[in-house]
Amino acid sequence: MSLLALDRITKRFGGLTAVNRVSFAVEEGQVVGLIGPNGAGKTTVFNLITGNYRPDEGTVQFQGQAIGGLAPHRIVSLGIARTFQTIRLFQNLSVVENVLAGCHCRMRTGIFGSLFHTPGQRREERQVLAQARDELAFVGLGDSGGQLAKNLSYGNQRLLEIARALATRPKLLILDEPAGGMNDQETQELIGLIGRMRARGLTILLIEHDMKLVMKACDQLVVIEYGSKIAAGTPEEIQHNPRVIEAYLGADSDDDED
């Protein structure tokens, strides 16, 4: 059984079919890249998996369970975490608090424990602080815990989003253009981080335009164009697929809004 399986999912916005009968599967332990020209519908596919959109047709299965239409926070607690294409951190909160947001769904303290700081609440706070510290160190932000998120560099903000996602203890991590806005060195470090996350047993699904990263980091690629899947396979296969070459280099490919 695949960890994640999309079966002919379709999403329409008014008259526009943003995602058209797309099917693919992600096996446990793989790093899968979702690529395609701007406006192809990649982020929409992500939003269908994470519950931000409800598919009009088709099913999304995670560990054999249908998750299409569940609320995003439910999907996170089932084990799918995400980062956003446009960075969405809690800008005015500290770096640690941003990571603690990810810990939230694995915590149990309720309103009573929060009001009275019961011994269980204090124990849990210590545990999640240690976890937050470890996740920050893991992505390479070990020294930045006390800063406000908005004061981090762009690349570090992307890393913080990953740390926040990791803090939810996911099985599947969905990264939407993780190298966006990163320089070459930061991208190299990101490739290393993806390798370390995979070594932790995480399965990763990512959208990325940086082909160096995609070719290096991914086991499998899925290519979509105009909302439909046009190819799938290993990076080598995709590189030589005439349909893909046409989609990327072909005659006057207009850059639509993504």
Binding site: P72, E97, G113, A130, A132, R133
Partner: protein, 316 residues
């Protein structure tokens, strides 16, 4: 040397508790009003400050609490202080019912709906719904509260009742602020989509913020009813909601010290400038305008929480 915040707060609070020794009845009564508004402001702060939901109908919850006390006491003879938890519960249940369909509304839309809510409550009270609210005249003859056989009647007595309740509120809410619950409210204020995407049930937390804030305002209503012994719909007008909104925004939304300062400024300053009669409202308006232009985050904006990662210990 930097004085720890809670020591400073404790010292100020102790100083405040000595105030009735030096002040006459009038000024003690002013402090009582400030204390009551501080409690209300802190309860609104949970909704408006921590969670960032523009709620301008807080007087509705306050009214429900006050009327619960008044009705239970005058019609059924329930001792006033016994009604305290019941008033909180009544206001919380009311909030649960009215907030459920509206919490998905964003900023300005929510604001308008809550204004409608507080007006509906006031008009319902004037129209004597269920024949129990006494119409425009309200309800009078509410008993003085008794604590261990001691009858609370003087402003000085109420001073201690109000400010001890305020102190308890400050203590509990500052604990709440530094907890999973308090952080969750901040996340949804900062970015609701990111909060939901990080695994936080934003709808449930918004509702919880409303219910908790309303319940606390309901309990403040009990104290108000006991202090006044007579309540009428005019005490819970839209203007009351605006004043509470102002206390939180002016003082510093999301900061307990800021809200208390806001209560002192918004309720206390007009008393100090009483001699200027209506000119004080001009001053008021100008002060608000300057604040909103030059210091939109309030006089005392919230400070980021400090976490000592080096003391966190090992992960499980």
């Amino acid at each position: 040397m930097k004085v720890p915040g809670h020591l400073l707060a404790g010292a100020l609070f102790a100083l405040l508790l000595c105030a009735p020794l030096a002040l006459d009845r009038y000024w003690v009564d002013v402090l009582n009003s400030i204390g009551l508004y501080a409690i209300l402001g802190l309860s609104l702060n949970i909704i408006l400050g921590y969670a960032g939901m523009f709620h301008m109908g807080h007087a509705a919850f306050y009214a429900i609490g006050a009327y619960t006390t008044a009705i239970l006491n005058t019609s059924y003879g329930v001792p006033v202080l016994w009604t305290l938890p019941l008033s909180g519960l009544a206001a919380a249940l009311f909030a649960l019912a009215v907030a459920r369909p509206i919490i998905h509304l964003r900023g300005d839309y929510l604001l308008i709906v809550t204004i409608g809510m507080v007006e509906i409550v006031r008009i319902a009270l004037i129209n004597d719904v269920f024949g129990i609210t006494g119409g425009a005249n309200g309800i009078f003859g509410i008993d003085r509260p008794q604590l261990f056989g001691f009858k609370i009647r003087q402003p000085q007595h109420f001073f201690y009742l109000i400010w001890l309740f305020a102190g308890l509120t400050i203590l509990l809410f500052s604990l709440l602020e530094n907890s999973r619950f308090g952080r969750a409210l901040n996340y949804l204020r900062e970015d609701e989509v990111a909060a939901e995407g990080s695994g936080i049930n934003t709808a449930a937390y918004k509702l919880a913020a409303f219910v908790l804030g309303a319940g606390w305002a309901g309990m403040a209503g009990t104290i108000f009813a006991a202090k006044m012994t007579i309540i009428s719909p005019e005490s819970f007008s839209f203007w009351e909601s605006v004043v509470l909104f102002m206390i939180v925004i002016l003082g510093g939304a999301g900061n307990i010290a800021g809200v208390i300062l806001g209560a002192f400024l918004v309720v206390g300053l007009p008393e100090i400038f009483r001699d200027f009669a209506s000119a004080r409202m001009l001053f008021y308006g100008l002060a608000m305008m300057f604040m909103m232009i030059y210091r939109t985050q309030g006089i005392l904006p919230p400070r980021p929480r400090v976490y000592r990662l080096d003391r966190a210990g090992g992960a499980q």
